[in-house]
C-alpha cells in the first residue's frame, strides 16, 4: 500500500493541468452557454495524447496506464466537465473495447485514428426504451451475406453530434434476448445513418448529446466487434471501465468546486471577518475535503485493480457511486458557501453544481451501481 504519483504521472498531471488552465477553462463558460461542441479542444487533446491515454503507442495512444487516465480526466473536468466527458467517452467507451475485443484490422482502421485524436468516437447503447435495462434494446441487426443491416434508434449519445465513428449495439437475434446483442463499428457517414442536433441539457451542455438513427444501415461483417451475441458482455465490461472515467470526472468537478469555495471563503468578509473564520464554513470545508479524498482514492483503487488485471467491477461501481454522490454534495456546499453570488453565472460554482448532476445518472445510475454492488456483497462475497 503506497499511494504516491510517479514522476511520469506527475509530469502528465502538470502538463494536463496547464492545458486545462490555459486552454480549457477559459472556454468552459462559453460552450456551456452556446452548447457548441469544442472540436478544436478535442483536436488539441489528441496532440497531447489525451484521446487514447491508456492505448499502447503501437495503436496510436499515449501508452500510459489507467491511473494516468484518471489524472487526465480529473484535471480536464476540474476546468470543464463537458470536455472531461468528451474525452472519457472516447477513451473508455470506444478505444478501450476496440483494444480489448478488436482484431488487428479493426485496430488499424479504427483504434489508431481514434486513439490519436484524428477521429472522434461515440458509444451507442441507450435507447428510448432501454436505459438502465440495457438488455432490452430494440435496434436490430439482420445478417445479409457479408453485411448486417441495422435498424433502430439510440438516444442520449455523448459526442453524437460530432463523432466520426459510433460503437453501436444491436440485436442480431431478438429471440435470444440479450444474448443476441452484437457490437458494431460504424462510420457516422454511412448510408442510412442520421443523427440529431445538439440537445440543451441541465449540465455538461456542450458534449454533443443527441439521438442516432439507423435505417437499413449496411455494416460489413468485418466491422463487427467481437462475436455475434457477444455485445452485451462487451457493453457491460466496457461500462465497468467507463465508470472509472466518470468517477474521475466527478472527482474533478468536486475538486474545482472545492477549490473555488476554499478561496472564496477566505476572501469574502461578513461580520467583519472572512467566512473561513466561521466554524460552520470550516466544517463544510473539512467534510468536503474528506469525501473528496476518499472519492479519489476509491477511483485510483479501481484504476489500479483494472491495470493489474484484478477484479474491478465492484471497485469501479463503488468508485462511481461514491464519487458522483460526493460531487453532488460538494458542489452543493460550494454553492452554499458562495451564497447569492454562487447562484449567479458570475461564478463557476453554479456550473459545477449543474455539471455534477449527470454523474449520478450516466454510465449506470446510482441505483444501477447499487444493484451491481449488492450482487457482489450478497451473492459473490
Amino acid at each position: 500500500m503506497h499511494i504516491e504519483l510517479s514522476d511520469e504521472h506527475k509530469l502528465l498531471q502538470e502538463t494536463v493541468r496547464q492545458f486545462a488552465t490555459e486552454v480549457v477553462a477559459p472556454r468552459a463558460k462559453e460552450i456551456d452557454e452556446t452548447g457548441e461542441f469544442p472540436r478544436d479542444f478535442y483536436d488539441q487533446a489528441g496532440e497531447l495524447g489525451l484521446t487514447g491515454v491508456a492505448v499502447p503507442d503501437a495503436w496510436g495512444g499515449a501508452g500510459m496506464d489507467t491511473v494516468a487516465y484518471c489524472l487526465v480526466i480529473e484535471e480536464i473536468s476540474r476546468a470543464c466537465a463537458t470536455s472531461g466527458v468528451i474525452l472519457s467517452v472516447n477513451n473508455s467507451l470506444v478505444c478501450d473495447p476496440i483494444l480489448k475485443w478488436g482484431n488487428d484490422d479493426q485496430k488499424e482502421r479504427y483504434l489508431k485514428p481514434l486513439a490519436s485524436g484524428e477521429l472522434l468516437g461515440c458509444f451507442g447503447l441507450t435507447e428510448p426504451g432501454a436505459g438502465s435495462d440495457a438488455g432490452s434494446l430494440r435496434t436490430t441487426a439482420r445478417r445479409d451475406g457479408d453485411h448486417y443491416v441495422l435498424n433502430g434508434e439510440k438516444v442520449f449519445i455523448t459526442n453524437g453530434t460530432d463523432a466520426d465513428v459510433a460503437l453501436v449495439f444491436a440485436n442480431a437475434d431478438l429471440a435470444k434476448k440479450h444474448r443476441g446483442i452484437t457490437a458494431f463499428l460504424i462510420p457516422t457517414g454511412a448510408d442510412g445513418f442520421t443523427r440529431g442536433e445538439h440537445e440543451f441539457k441541465l449540465g455538461v451542455n456542450a458534449s454533443g448529446t443527441t439521438w442516432l438513427n439507423f435505417e437499413d444501415v449496411r455494416v460489413p461483417v468485418a466491422d463487427r466487434l467481437g462475436e455475434e451475441g457477444e455485445g452485451f458482455k462487451i457493453a457491460m465490461a466496457t461500462l465497468d471501465g467507463g465508470r472509472i472515467g466518470i468517477a474521475a470526472q466527478a472527482v474533478g468537478i468536486a475538486r474545482g468546486a472545492m477549490e473555488e469555495a476554499l478561496a472564496y471563503s477566505q476572501e469574502r468578509e461578513q461580520f467583519n471577518q472572512p467566512l473561513s473564520n466561521f466554524q460552520a464554513i470550516q466544517f463544510y470545508l473539512a467534510d468536503m475535503s474528506t469525501e473528496l479524498d476518499a472519492a479519489r482514492l476509491l477511483t485510483w483503487k479501481a484504476a489500479w485493480a483494472k491495470e493489474n488485471q484484478k477484479r474491478y467491477s465492484l471497485e469501479a461501481a463503488q468508485a462511481k457511486l461514491f464519487a458522483s454522490e460526493v460531487a453532488q454534495r460538494v458542489t452543493n456546499k460550494a454553492l452554499q458557501i458562495h451564497g447569492g453570488y454562487g447562484y449567479t453565472k458570475e461564478y463557476n460554482v453554479e456550473r459545477y453544481f449543474r455539471d455534477a448532476r449527470i454523474t449520478e445518472i450516466y454510465e449506470g445510475t446510482s441505483e444501477i451501481q447499487k444493484m451491481v454492488i449488492a450482487d457482489w456483497v450478497v451473492n459473490k462475497a
Partner: protein, 393 residues
C-alpha cells in the same frame, strides 16, 4: 524520530498489502475468531475486563507492535498495526481499544519521545504484555487541553503530581501511564509536560470504573494523583513538550481508532448480509428486496471509502521525511471511518428489524460499541477543526 530505517519505496499507486502484512492480518483474524469471539457476549454482559485475552495479546506480540525491536517490540509499521486493530475490533471492539490504547498512546509516545534510559525501563515490560494507559483528559479539559488543572512540581529528584484524570482506558489494569500535567501555569500550552507514571507510584490511585453505553468489557476509570511522586527521569522528552507530545500521539492514535471503526463496520456488514440472506419476508430473502439490498451496497461502499482513507493515512504516518499531510489524513480517516461505522451499525440494526434491538444479537452490541468512536481521541468536531486548520493555512 522514525523507529527503523524505512526502505525507500519507488513512487507508485499501489493498493496491495505486503506479504507480511497479509500474514499478520490472517494470524490476528484467526486468533480473534478462535479465542476472543467465544466469550465476547458474556464479557460484555458482565462488564468483565478481558484479562486472560490481554495475556495472550502480549504473548502474540500485539502489545508492542510499534515498539523498536531493541526494546522488545515488533518494530512494525502503522499500517500493519491498523490491520491488527481492525481484526480485533471485528470480533471485539472492547479488546481492540484495550490493545490500541496500550500501543498508540502509551508505547508510541514513550518510543518516540522518551530518553533511552526511560525507554529501557518501560518499553520491554510493555512490549512483553504489561498494559499501558494515557492520562490527558480531565473533568474540565476534554477537547480543549488548555483547561488542564493537574499540576506537576519538581521536588529534588522527583516530580510530584496532583490532580484528576478522567475517562482513562485501561485504568487499574495498566502498568504504565503516560500522564500530561501542567509544569508552568504561565506558559500556556508550552507549560505542559508528559510523564511516565507507574501504577505503583506513591499517591497514585484509580477511581470507580465508569458505567458506559458500550465497550463494556473495556475498563474506563478516573486516575487520582495525590502527591504522586515519580523519579525526575520519568519526564518524557523535555519539560514544556507535553502539548506537542500529546498532539503527535493523538495524530497517531486516530489511526488506531479509524482501524477499530473498520473492524466494527466490516462486522456490521457481515452480520447484516448474513441475516438478510436468511430472513424471508414476502416470500423471499429480504436481501432480494431492493430497499434492503441498496442499504447493503451503501454500507459496503462506505466501508471501502473508510478503508482507503485509513490505509492511506497509515501508509504516510511515519514517512521520512515527514509528510506534511499526515495529520490531516489521520483526522480525515478518523472522522470518516467513525461516522461511517455509526451509519453501518444503524443500518445493520434496521436490517435485523426487531431482532436487532435484542441483546442476544451481536449487532445490538456493535451498535452500542460504535457510538464512542465519533467521540474519543478527538470528537468529530475536533477532527473537522484540525482538517479545516490544515486547509486554511
Amino acid at each position: 524520530m522514525a523507529v527503523a530505517e524505512v526502505p525507500t519505496v519507488d513512487p507508485a499507486v499501489d493498493f496491495a498489502l505486503a506479504e507480511d502484512q497479509e500474514l499478520i492480518r490472517e494470524q490476528v483474524r484467526r486468533y480473534a475468531e478462535e479465542r476472543i469471539a467465544p466469550g465476547e457476549a458474556e464479557r460484555d454482559r458482565e462488564h468483565r475486563f478481558p484479562a486472560d485475552i490481554v495475556v495472550e495479546l502480549g504473548e502474540l506480540g500485539l502489545l508492542g507492535m510499534l515498539v523498536e525491536e531493541e526494546h522488545g517490540g515488533a518494530g512494525l509499521d502503522p499500517l500493519t498495526y491498523c490491520l491488527a486493530v481492525e481484526e480485533l475490533a471485528r470480533i471485539s471492539p472492547s479488546v481492540a481499544v484495550t490493545m490500541s490504547v496500550s500501543n498508540s498512546v502509551c508505547c508510541w509516545p514513550l518510543s518516540r519521545f522518551a530518553s533511552a534510559e526511560l525507554k529501557a525501563r518501560t518499553l520491554p515490560e510493555l512490549a512483553a504484555g504489561a498494559l499501558g494507559g494515557f492520562g490527558l483528559t480531565e473533568p474540565g479539559a476534554g477537547s480543549d487541553p488548555s483547561g488542564m488543572r493537574t499540576r506537576a512540581r519538581r521536588d529534588g529528584d522527583s516530580w510530584v503530581l496532583d490532580g484528576e484524570k478522567a475517562w482513562i482506558t485501561n485504568a487499574g489494569f495498566a502498568r504504565w501511564y503516560v500522564v500530561v500535567a501542567v509544569t508552568d501555569p504561565d506558559a500556556g500550552k508550552h507549560g505542559l509536560s508528559a510523564f511516565a507514571v507507574p501504577a505503583d507510584a506513591p499517591g497514585f490511585a484509580v477511581g470507580k470504573p465508569e458505567e458506559k453505553l458500550g465497550l463494556c468489557s473495556s475498563r474506563t476509570a478516573p486516575l487520582q494523583l495525590t502527591g504522586c511522586r515519580i523519579p525526575a527521569a520519568n519526564l518524557i522528552g523535555e519539560e514544556g513538550q507535553g502539548f506537542k507530545i500529546a498532539l503527535a500521539t493523538l495524530d497517531h492514535s486516530r489511526l488506531g481508532i479509524a482501524a477499530q471503526c473498520l473492524g466494527i463496520h466490516r462486522r456490521a456488514l457481515e452480520l447484516a448480509v448474513a441475516y438478510a440472506r436468511e430472513r424471508k419476508q414476502f416470500g423471499k430473502p429480504i436481501a432480494e428486496h431492493q430497499g434492503v439490498a441498496f442499504k447493503l451496497a451503501q454500507v459496503a461502499t462506505e466501508l471501502a471509502a473508510a478503508r482507503v482513507l485509513t490505509w492511506h493515512a497509515a501508509s504516510v504516518a511515519e514517512a521520512t521525511p515527514p509528510d506534511p499531510r499526515a495529520g490531516r489524513l489521520a483526522s480525515q480517516a478518523k472522522l470518516y471511518a467513525s461516522e461511517a461505522a455509526n451509519r453501518a451499525v444503524a443500518e445493520g440494526v434496521q436490517i435485523h428489524g426487531g431482532n436487532g434491538f435484542h441483546a442476544d444479537y451481536e449487532i445490538s452490541r456493535l451498535y452500542r460499541d460504535a457510538r464512542v468512536t465519533t467521540i474519543y481521541e478527538g470528537t468529530s468536531e475536533v477532527q473537522r477543526m484540525v482538517i479545516a486548520r490544515h486547509l486554511l493555512r
